[in-house]
Symmetry: C2
Subunit: 492 residues, 2 copies
């Protein structure tokens, strides 16, 4: 094979890194903790963006853009918020470089020190709510339903491509509402938009739920999330939606006049998802041959590889392929013809498997004679020979079949790793093997912290749509009473 | 009128600011020199992006993403480049805040000082070429045709919304080629892509040309540009495309093995356009009533305003409008029905004029009786009453008519302000009145600098597609020989 990747059973973590780099999704940059998203990886991200953006607009949201920099004093205005982010902030202190007076290169110009330092946004609640103050006067100005596509920076000590990087790309929705009920409804609506996107576009099963208090976003009254399970049984938080109450409205003094003319603080939500989803995509569907892309996110949905011994054969095969390509393009299926002459077809097969292209077509001299095409599926790694005249219809159907199959496979993986756990011994044993542990919990921070300390497991969510088990029980750790099972897992 | 804007004749500069703010395009933020792009402004920018992005992809380019931060030492590697940007760099020096030990709020944690400072990218040549070093080994790896949509920061002392802001949004193409000829061809191709976009999508006439040496991008061997003329006769640079030679390949040691196996330095281009185009759009087409949007960039192409005296009339009119809307949507025309009940229709008319919506339809009780619709054009501020059955066809045609008319109007403005100038006295007189001055120039930096010093006029470009006048003449300033006229103007 072209580029060897470590197998999942050998080292899941190394498999992931190999895959991201060798499938040309991303690589580490010269800047600590920051990645370069390569064209193939970025093309997948663009498809994620396009799909989500449409969903946001269909639910009434508009895009806008707010500054990259946040004055240091803004961050301090909401106490919990600053406590949550202060340790991860990249800080701009100067606005000019100058020639080094003592040698080559440039140095920071000490005379260009900023009066107030600027933080590179780790998230934009503060700068946005300072803006909303000027946008909101009356109930007629509400709701504000705004989203931003942007880069953010959180200084991470240990980074991994896509999963945890110092700079990442994301979208952050920031909405303002007249009532508490409306804000809660918005936060709920958006977590379900994320779930819809994850399930139907990424073909990734997710559980929707509430975070426990200690896992909430810094400054939120409630955090909803979607949690996915990777193939190794670890959880990955794939999107969050926060009900922020009036915390930011109070911090930035944002009030509106209600219909009776009385001033009230505005209610807020924020919700975000990031290039982390790329990592989730890789780990949900990939196999030991490489990436497996759901057709809805594949930049190339069909690759055609000509089989030939000489130029004449190549030209005949290419002519046939171009005819097919035209038909695919009309159906909105994206196609690449790999006509490279410096690598063998076996090399090409491996490369496109590595890159996760859902369907591969091969046509050789014998196929020309027999009017056949070899159709290979990436998800099952199976091949079939089909009459040329049936191939367009077949591939068209395969787009849906593969999309469904990769979802079903991921769902089966998750289902096989869900455990109802009722004793602490079982818990400790199972958590080492991975999976989602459905357990009773006494609802206290203390118990949650002790469980994490002893096992590195956290409460991923208190589920609201799948695995909702409301029943009387006893906390798996403390034995105190509990009314609902929650999901514990180790997480990325 | 709803929101008064200054007239152009009274104060062109104030008119621009009023328009940008009152049409809800953008506003100044709490962060010095940084703007907030509001939803309506951002929707126009998204349309610009979508159109350009398609043009880039149609010419074989792919998007990617590189880090926001650039290590200080990288910037120094290309001597001219660092000289050009050092004075405008926002510098990150620390990666953590901490609770203020002496009072409330947070302060920079002195123990979290970076070993090497990071510059917030003012442009990405250096970080990208440090990456390309790993991507390029052989001629088979070339060309690399990559574009990035990103935010950049250049610390500006005097800022104006869209035209000059500390942070702005842009795209930057960065390509790598095996030969000089190919790189020059790419730089040329892309400046013409910009010209095509400006003319056909923005409806903005531009002149394509070369920059003089002193106006070149820091690090380029040649800079091509598109120059537009605003209504006040000042020039606005709307996009640039640079032939970078081997400067960055040498700075970052990027070589490729050619077909003969010999190592050669790679040739480069870069090209960029930014949210500055939003300013150009406003100043090219706007009038004293507000924004005038070419239909291809209008987020709302048709607005419908119901005229009514009571709820029953309103419902009847709205029913008619919804029927029309469906037909427009099928034609890909974006429509808004303004059914607000708290403002009068006159207020609505002014507001949508201010926002530059190309076509306004009004339907009232009398129209219902007569089966008519009032159709108003934003570009000409004219109205006509049409039979209901003809309105869809008429509006469809108006999309093209208005697109063409606003271009023609802008072109007529430019044509009326182009002057062949042959004496220094004429030059000094005319430059005060604005316009493009087609002059002979002796080709020296010294003369160019003196002209700028005395008149604030710069060489906008040495034209290559319009106003190309190759003839023998004498420099308008020095009287020395010249073979081609160049364009002098004052510029934004």
């Amino acid at each position: 094979m072209a580029k060897q990747i470590t197998s999942r059973s050998e080292n899941y973590s190394q498999w992931y890194n190999d895959l991201v780099v060798k499938a040309d999704l991303a690589e580490n940059s010269a800047v600590r903790g920051c990645m370069v998203i390569k064209p193939y990886g970025y093309a997948i991200w663009e498809k994620m963006q396009a799909n989500m953006d449409k969903m946001f607009k269909d639910t009434g949201h508009q895009n806008a853009y707010f500054p990259l920099f946040i004055p240091k004093s803004f961050l301090s205005k909401e106490a919990e918020h600053v406590a949550g982010f202060a340790k991860e902030c990249a800080v701009v202190t100067h606005h000019r470089l100058m020639a080094n007076p003592d040698g080559p290169g440039v140095v920071v110009d000490p005379t260009a020190k900023l009066e107030e330092e600027l933080v590179v946004r780790p998230t934009s609640e503060t700068i946005i709510w300072s803006t909303y103050k000027n946008w909101i006067n009356s109930w007629r100005d509400l709701p504000i339903l705004v989203n931003q596509w942007a880069n953010v920076v959180r200084w991470e000590m240990r980074t991994r491509l896509f999963l945890r990087t110092t700079e990442f790309l994301w979208q952050e929705g920031h909405t303002a509402h007249a009532t508490k009920e409306e804000a809660i409804a918005e936060a709920t609506r958006m977590v379900h938009v994320y779930a819809d996107f994850a399930r139907n576009i990424m073909a990734m099963p997710v559980v929707v739920g509430h975070k426990s208090e200690s896992e909430r976003f810094a400054g939120a009254l409630d955090t909803l999330c979607i949690e996915a399970m990777m193939q190794d049984g670890k959880a990955l938080q794939a999107g969050t939606s926060h009900f922020l109450g009036q915390n930011f409205a109070k911090a930035f003094d944002v009030k509106y006049a209600n219909k009776e003319g009385q001033l009230e603080y505005v209610w807020a939500t924020s919700w975000g998802s990031s290039t982390r989803l790329m990592g989730a995509l890789v780990m949900t569907h990939g196999d030991d041959s490489g990436l497996v892309l759901p057709p809805k996110l594949a930049p190339i949905q069909v690759v055609m590889v000509p089989i030939f011994n000489n130029e004449e054969q190549l030209q005949k095969v290419l002519a046939k392929m171009k005819g097919l390509k035209e038909q695919f393009v009309k159906l909105g299926i994206s196609v690449k013809i790999d006509d490279r002459d410096n690598v063998r077809s076996g090399f090409k097969f491996s490369e496109w498997e590595l890159k996760g292209v859902p369907v591969r077509l091969a046509i050789g001299p014998r196929d020309l004679e027999n009017e056949t095409v070899e159709v290979a599926r990436r998800d099952t790694l199976t091949k079939e020979s089909l009459p040329m005249m049936n191939v367009v219809e077949r591939v068209k159907n395969l787009m849906d079949e593969i999309q469904k199959n990769v979802y079903d496979k991921a769902l089966a993986n998750r289902e096989s790793k869900i455990y109802k756990i009722d004793t602490w011994d079982e818990f400790k044993e199972q958590i080492e093997k991975g999976g989602f542990l459905l357990c009773h919990w006494d609802g206290t921070k203390e118990t949650e912290a002790k469980i994490q300390e002893e096992t590195r497991a956290t409460i991923r969510c208190i589920p609201v749509d799948s695995y909702v088990i409301k029943e009387e029980g006893k906390c798996v750790y403390s034995g105190k009473p509990s009314h609902q099972r929650v999901i514990f897992a180790r997480a990325y």
